[in-house]
């Protein structure tokens, strides 16, 4: 009985976590496509590269996020899409941390125009860290 409850709880948490990741990466990639300007400005401020290179990097990130989204949906039973999602979210933690360290004041444009852009601060780091942990945990919960 207890095991059944635990099992049920784990699977439910895995499902909820999966849905959260799907929504997150969906909104993030779609938002950047719909409103890329804020992200371009942020990348330009973060990297010091030209606007052209900032655009190229942005296209890469949009495609990466979309790849994670589709992988989670189509390869739900596998572990690697979640490990990939967790790794990318961990990368975002590092990027935000670097932005805080060099004192970037720009809005990150993380979700484009769909959700009001967040500033680069500790809350953004914590958010990404929690989501990265969840992504790594989901395959274990499903097992």
């Amino acid at each position: 009985m207890k095991e059944d409850i635990l099992r049920y709880g784990s699977v439910s948490l895995a499902v909820v976590g999966t849905i959260i990741l799907i929504v997150l990466f969906g909104i993030s990639s779609l938002g950047k496509i719909l409103e890329p300007d804020t992200s371009i400005v942020f990348l330009n401020a973060l990297t010091g590269l030209s606007e052209t290179w900032s655009r190229i990097i942005l296209v890469f990130f949009i495609t990466l996020e979309a790849a994670i989204l589709f992988s989670i949906i189509l390869f739900y039973n596998k572990k690697w899409p979640f490990y990939l999602a967790g790794s990318v979210l961990g990368l975002f933690v590092i990027i935000v941390g670097y932005g805080i360290w060099i004192d970037v004041e720009e809005l990150c444009g993380c979700f484009g125009s769909i959700i009001e852009s967040t500033t680069v601060n500790g809350n953004a780091m914590i958010r990404n860290a929690v989501l990265a942990s969840l992504a790594f945990l989901i395959p274990e919960l499903k097992d």
Binding site: S29, K32, I33, L34, P36, D37, I40, V41, N44, A45, G48, S50, E51, T52, R55, L58, V59, I62, T63, A66, A67, F70, S71, L74, F75, E105, E106, L107
Partner: protein, 352 residues
């Protein structure tokens, strides 16, 4: 089954990649944002939040009666050498005053198409050697006057729609509109030396996004351009190279004009924006960028000045004008500006 899923992901990713490239690089031209063509080595980004310092502005200064009595409709105010020059649309002339407001002389004594007469004054600049250049929009002329006597000397026909002028060393830089090359460089004899300044794509069609002001940095080599409807400061040298670009706090990007039907004609109108830059001024090593902000009802709210380091483009601080105004002149301890509503010259103590 696995191969089909991988193929599906690959196709979906290709589609996403294609769409994101089109969006990020605005290939389909669906974005209202215009692509900026020039790129300096580094873009300097001002903070998103302004640092307000109202201690800059001191008491009102009462100027000599001459300036209030002589100016009917002041539409442009600049400082050339140590004197104030006012473009007066009331009698279509340029009048010069001392910094106390005492009348010195008038340039152009009547409205008309004749020599030394004006129809629509746009911009003026003074060269070393006391030559005053004044652009006329309707006549499409750059007229030359002796700055010390006010005597009309000659004029040069121009092919563009003139907007603003500034002197850089012994050259005149003219700012034009409705052309692909925004800036025209003339020598002291009025000969065109070079032209440059392709700021945004489809510049002629999107010209309404571009008008603004230019001012010499003061080193004889560089000038600054600010469009009125986008949050940029472009630093150019006299050879046409962009040396620096500053993104100002408001982060308003160039927008396509809105097309409106007027009878049988479609007219391009500028997009509505919250902050409009109207003037640039330089004093010492500081650049003063004056603008007016609209409130949520689209009414004019207040005028303010952003201060930058002229050598680095770094944003320093801002202060508000005592009332809505346009065209700001800065001296060591004074701020002059034109009142927006009464179009008269006003002055305040300035604590730099």
């Amino acid at each position: 089954m696995i191969n089909k899923r991988r193929i599906a992901i690959a196709i979906l990713l290709l589609i996403v990649c294609g769409i994101s490239v089109a969006s990020v690089f605005n290939i389909l031209g669906t974005s209202e944002r215009l692509k900026v063509n020039v790129e300096g080595d580094k873009i300097i980004e001002s903070p998103l939040e302004r640092s307000w310092n109202q201690e800059f502005i001191g008491d009102d200064i009462q100027l000599h009666n001459d300036i209030g009595d002589s100016v009917y409709r002041g539409v442009q105010l600049i400082k050339l050498n140590q004197d104030l020059y006012v473009t007066d649309y009331g009698d279509m002339s340029v009048k010069s005053f001392s910094k106390e407001g005492k009348f010195i002389r008038t340039f152009g004594d009547r409205q008309g198409r004749g020599p030394g007469e004006f129809l629509d004054i746009m911009g003026m600049a003074r060269l070393p050697g006391d030559t005053l250049f004044i652009q006329d929009l309707d006549k499409r002329e750059m007229m030359v006057f002796d700055a010390t006597s006010g005597t009309y000397l000659t004029s040069h026909t121009i092919k563009y729609r003139p907007y603003r002028l500034t002197s850089v060393g012994n050259k005149i830089v003219a700012h034009a509109t409705l052309v692909d090359s925004l800036f025209k460089v003339y020598d002291s004899r009025g000969r065109l030396i070079r032209e440059f300044g392709n700021i945004v794509n489809n510049q002629v069609a999107n010209t309404l996004a571009i008008s603004g002001d230019i001012v010499s940095v003061g080193d004889g080599k560089h000038f600054v351009y600010s469009p009125s409807r986008a949050s940029y400061l472009f630093f150019f040298d006299i050879n046409g190279n962009e040396v620096r670009r500053v993104l100002t706090p408001d982060r308003i990007f160039f927008k396509k004009p809105e097309m409106r039907q007027s009878g049988n004609t479609r007219i391009a109108s500028p997009s509505e924006i919250d902050v409009m830059v109207f003037d640039l001024a330089v004093y010492g090593d500081k650049l003063f960028v004056s603008a007016t902000r609209r409130d949520e009802n689209r009414e004019l709210d207040y005028s303010f000045v952003d201060v930058y380091d002229i050598n680095t483009g770094k944003y320093l601080e801002s202060f508000k004008l005592p009332e809505l105004g346009k065209d700001v002149v800065i001296t060591q301890n004074r701020l002059y500006y034109l009142g927006y509503h009464d179009e008269q010259v006003k002055a305040n103590q300035l604590n730099l």
